[in-house]
Symmetry: C2
Subunit: 706 residues, 2 copies
């Protein structure tokens, strides 16, 4: 067996171990007791609602994927009539695998989340520690499944087709689904949230989660489809994209210089997953423990394990300077991920200045909540962007000198360094997804504890778990944004590699495209147009929420008017929850399709006007403003959310004060920022990058300025 085959085999084995742990925890969570009838009833409604949404969404996605598959079959990697059609068949299969794997990961996430929430609520009756373990292991089911699926998918496709380009197809499948899951879920969840609040709280004065409100179940479903399924699809996509980018670059080097780096990439990925498995499996919270510390501790353990195990592997199997340089790049990625996370935390943590300042500004009125929140979030973009910039520069410079040793292009090796830094940053992704999925589970558990009347002590316990989830989320979010930034840079490098390989096979000569010079007007044209796309994409999603919420508000009004006794809470009278769920479902899909198509059409238009160089510029413009807006919107949402909670905990006049009313306005603005637009931008950039790489041959063949 070659080194590569051993690495592939080990990757598949570790992935299977992740699946094993996921299954074990699934059974463990399922076995936890749950007896409360109200909770059972509500939780069933939520589970059914989530199923309805997923079914509808996956139906539409199946149509989309079928159309995309036909287009891929006909045109990618090259028009089917030009060369061996088997390549097109393989690419289509890879694409379909990507969509199916992503869909399954989302489905598993929803399944476990809608079970774990009630079990967590029930466990909170006994102790915080028990509830923590239930919520945590529920999240880990999703985490292990997502990361296992991404690594096994990448390894299998690479092994079967022996062609890294096929991974771009797999990654495109994952990211096109993630775009719909994240953006669609984001529109769904905010539609339901806003409509339920507008009619329930504002117009009728009903409390949060009142069962008379026809939108209340849709609201709870939204938490699951947006936060759990959407987030899972998103990180599945990021992880696959970072591996694909690294492998496209490493195989291109290996094809010329002999197998050198591809096995290393797999080793990093599998060791990262192994470290996550250990960190997740052995995570415990003592009886007197604190959930935040438990979550953070396991994250740091995983990071330390990754850094030391990869060092051991390097010393044992790859003990030469070139590999230690690659190791350095991975560690840089890991470290900078942590730094970005800590910086992000500063801007959204209620013990820090920004949250306090926004809360204090709120006393003067909502305009000041909005203005100060926007200002601090603008600030917050600098540490993250500078962190990504520094890690890209450092990992590039670290790996560039390898070129001398193996006689290849320094650009390729520098880009490999960046890609490896992204892989290093995402090495702990199993831990990240587990922690991220823990959040909505305990959040839902809190709601169920309240609706099921489990009493104040239980609610206080779930509150503690919930707040730990929010704190930890800020740090894990740092990793995912940072990694997305590095991955798209690596994808820009991969795009160049793909273009040059395509150009070579078209007889356009070696190293057809040396780079993208910003003074080249075609590149510049692409940069400016690409720079506007994330803003337009965000606007379309946010206006989509607005339109959809209007439809739902009409439906809620209709039900209160037509269903007699509903408003009064007459025994046995129930609202038609499913109607609201179908409206949110249909609307979210209807509203996200134009946004998705816009990004695809813009990429193709720029490509056919300016050719591959314009597309490179377009990607860059997308990356720069996309990172800026994603950071701005995600952090603003978190900042406003926590300022509201800070005031509610008794500061600046507490609940009901002028400051609180202003903070509620800020929170409402922040909701679609942080749950709809902000986190969808990463996926939008990845989709654009992959389309660009996949269609490079087309733009080389036809374009106005090529």
């Amino acid at each position: 067996m070659t080194a590569l085959q051993i690495a592939l085999l080990c990757s598949i084995l570790v992935s299977l171990a992740a699946f094993g742990l996921s299954a074990l925890f699934f059974v463990w969570v399922k076995k936890r007791p749950s007896q409360n009838e109200t909770i059972e009833k509500i939780s069933k409604l939520i589970a059914n609602g989530a199923k309805t949404f997923l079914k509808k969404e996956y139906t539409v996605l199946a149509i989309f994927a079928a159309v995309a598959a036909i287009v891929i079959l006909l045109f990618l990697p090259k028009p089917i009539w030009q060369e061996n059609p088997l390549g097109n068949v393989f690419m289509t299969l890879s694409y379909l695998c990507g969509t199916v794997f992503s869909a399954i990961a989302g489905k598993i996430g929803i399944m476990i989340a809608t079970i774990a929430n009630k079990k967590t609520a029930e466990a909170a009756k006994t102790s915080t520690a028990k509830a923590f373990m239930t919520g945590y292991r529920g999240g880990a089911v999703m985490g292990m499944a997502v990361v296992g699926a991404s690594l096994i998918g990448v390894s299998a496709i690479f092994w079967i087709f022996s062609d890294a380009s096929m991974l771009l197809g797999f990654s495109f499948g994952a990211s096109s689904l993630a775009l719909f899951a994240k953006a669609g879920g984001g529109i769904f969840t905010k539609t339901a949230d806003i409509s339920a609040d507008l009619v329930g709280k504002v117009e009728l004065g009903l409390p949060e989660d009142d069962p008379r409100n026809p939108a209340v179940i849709a609201d709870n479903v939204g938490d699951n489809v947006g936060d759990v399924a959407g987030m899972g699809a998103d990180l599945f996509d990021s992880n696959v994209a970072s591996l694909a980018a690294a492998l496209v670059i490493s195989s291109s080097i290996d094809n010329t210089a002999g197998t050198l780096f591809t096995p290393v990439v797999f080793v990093y990925a599998l060791v990262g997953l192994l470290a996550s498995i250990i960190g997740v499996a052995f995570n415990r919270m003592g009886k007197k423990g604190n959930p935040t510390n438990a979550l953070n501790f396991s994250t740091y353990v995983t990071m330390a394990l990754f850094a030391s195990l990869t060092a051991v592997a390097t010393a044992a199997f790859f003990n030469s300077e070139i590999y230690w340089r690659v190791y350095g790049a991975a560690v840089i990625g890991l470290a900078v991920g942590a730094v970005i996370g800590i910086a992000t935390d500063y801007f959204t943590d209620d013990r820090r200045r920004p949250v306090k300042k926004v809360a204090s500004a709120s006393g003067k009125g909502p305009a000041f909540t909005v203005l100060s929140g926007i200002s601090y979030s603008f600030y917050s973009t600098l540490p993250a962007m500078a962190g990504i910039a520094v890690s890209a520069l450092a990992s590039y410079k670290l790996c560039e000198p390898i070129a001398n040793a193996i006689g290849l292009s320094p650009v390729d090796l520098g880009m490999l360094g960046i890609a490896i830094a992204a892989v290093g940053m995402l090495s702990v992704v199993g831990m990240i997804v587990s922690n991220d999925a823990y959040g909505p589970i305990v959040d839902n558990a809190r709601g169920l504890a309240e609706m099921g009347g489990l009493g104040d002590e239980v609610i206080a316990r779930t509150d503690m778990l919930d707040s730990a989830g929010n704190t930890v989320k800020a740090i894990t979010k740092g990793f995912s944004i940072g990694a997305a930034g590095l991955t798209v840079i690596a994808l820009l490098g991969a795009f160049r590699t793909e273009v040059n390989e395509a150009a070579l096979s078209m007889g356009l000569g070696l190293n057809y495209l040396s780079g993208f010079d910003v003074l080249d007007p075609v590149v510049f044209f692409g940069i400016l147009v690409g720079g506007a796309v994330p803003a337009v994409f965000s606007a379309m999603l946010m206006l989509g929420v607005d339109k959809n919420a209007r439809r739902m508000v009409d439906e809620i009004h209709r039900q209160f008017k037509e269903i007699k006794g509903l408003k009064e809470g007459k025994e046995g009278v129930m609202p038609q929850y499913d109607k609201c769920i179908s409206i949110a479902t249909a609307g979210s899909i209807k509203e996200l399709i134009p946004a998705g198509l816009m990004t695809i059409v813009m990429t193709l238009a720029v490509g056919f006007i300016g050719g591959v160089k314009a597309v490179g510029g377009f990607l860059l413009g997308n990356i720069v403003t996309g990172l800026l807006l994603a950071l701005f919107m995600s952090n603003a949402g978190g900042l406003w959310d926590n300022s509201k909670k800070y005031i509610e905990s008794g500061f600046e006049g507490g609940k009901g004060s002028r400051a609180h009313k202003s903070a509620v306005v800020g929170d409402t603005v922040g909701d679609p920022f942080k749950d709809t637009a902000g986190p969808s931008i990463n996926t939008q950039i990845t989709v654009v990058s992959l389309i660009a790489s996949l269609t490079s041959t087309l733009f080389l063949s036809f374009s106005v300025f090529a």
Copy 2:
């Protein structure tokens, strides 16, 4: 006399003609009658307040300029001990000229604005047409002075020193002053506006412009120092920067290929000014005319004059293909400027969908005003950015083939095309400044008419003039944003030219820097860091307004508490207006200095870390996110302002409705967006570009990665 000398002479003559028209109109406006005592008194207070501000601001700026002048003398263009020190002396003189010219232009603007406003109010007693002419000619005094000063300054410095690099010093003087004038004025005006409203309207229920409010005069002063002086300094700076960029590139070409293009640049500039003079001088509004039409008509006449006169000049003096290509670039600039203006207008005009949609969303609460406003403003960035992208691409491609005819680098000629397009777009700048200065004059006139009790009919007339000012502003703003975009692209090209000339003289060889490849990690590092700077800069200015407003609110509270009889409006009791003015003045200067220094320090830090390539990337990142944020914030501010006015005119429930209250929140958020941060970003980018060009030698000599 050479062709160049004739062009320079004509430029100076036309500039003198502009000064003549400016003086003529000044005398004309001053001669208009004004008798109302109350108006005289208030207007004197405003004029004195504005003087106080300017005096304080210019004192601080003089210190800043002196320090900068010493640094320039020691280090620029090269360390004084390295070569002929005369170059450093010339550069210092050019820099000082730039600051002085800019300061004088601002001073003239304030002088005429504080006279023209009362004369316009008085003229409105007779007829709309008379009032229009007074306001318009008042604005034209400023317009002609600004453009005359920029052309005569550029021509004289170029003639005296015969070195285009000196123009960068002149331009840097203009832009460093503009940064302070625009950002400082922006902080001043919003500080006063917000504090006056918070205490006056919200706490005490006083009407707008109530003389008991200690901040009321500061508020009116703010309109003048922010809108008139700041805007004048801004457009002076843009115009000088566009000419400097074009001339640096053209002289670099001419130095190699013989005098070809430098005279042409001057011809375009002087014909543009001539066209503006004619358009301004002959503008009339008939008795039954409409002010919007009068303003638009003169703008279109100026555009047509420019296009036809430059065609005539080209046919007469430069009749060969290479010059017709240059002519094409100028016309592209002009046309795209108009297109961007029309697109901008769409998003802020109350007869269009966005304003109506935001007004209708306001019925649901302030969060929806903010969300829908942000969404539509995100949309609004696309047409402008795509417009700049297309005009840059088209003008580059049009001029690139000239390289074949004269045997020079296609990049240089393409960049010349972009620079010429910027000059073409700014050809009507005389008209733009006149129209822009007209706005605050008639706005102030409206306030004076109200305070002086001139009656409803007069107020209605000034309202009509005011609304025309707002409509026209959207279109002229299109020109200035578009031109700033093209100018900074050209400055990026000029930066490369400067680096290469410096490198050549340092013995680093010909064409040391061919471009900026985005896959070069140093460039990429610069791009990401540069991309965050406009966001941080905006945040600093907006938080500066907030801090400063707190100080002023305290002062207003103190006065109401300590001055007996003030609140009750006792006869003879006056607030201490000057205290509020000094607080706004001192605070605005205090708050803007860190923002200004941050941009300068970041540029130097990136340069010393990554060298000239990183600085190129830094500029690009600045341009992309800077344009995006400037468009977003300016348009959002306009959109919210007009939505509020739309509701006030009776729609969506009219004044006092829930929608109106929400719209007021939107308008308050929009105020620092459109009057403080948004319009300062252009200047910030220009300053960074010029610092980069000026310091290129330093980064070539010392930098970590060079």
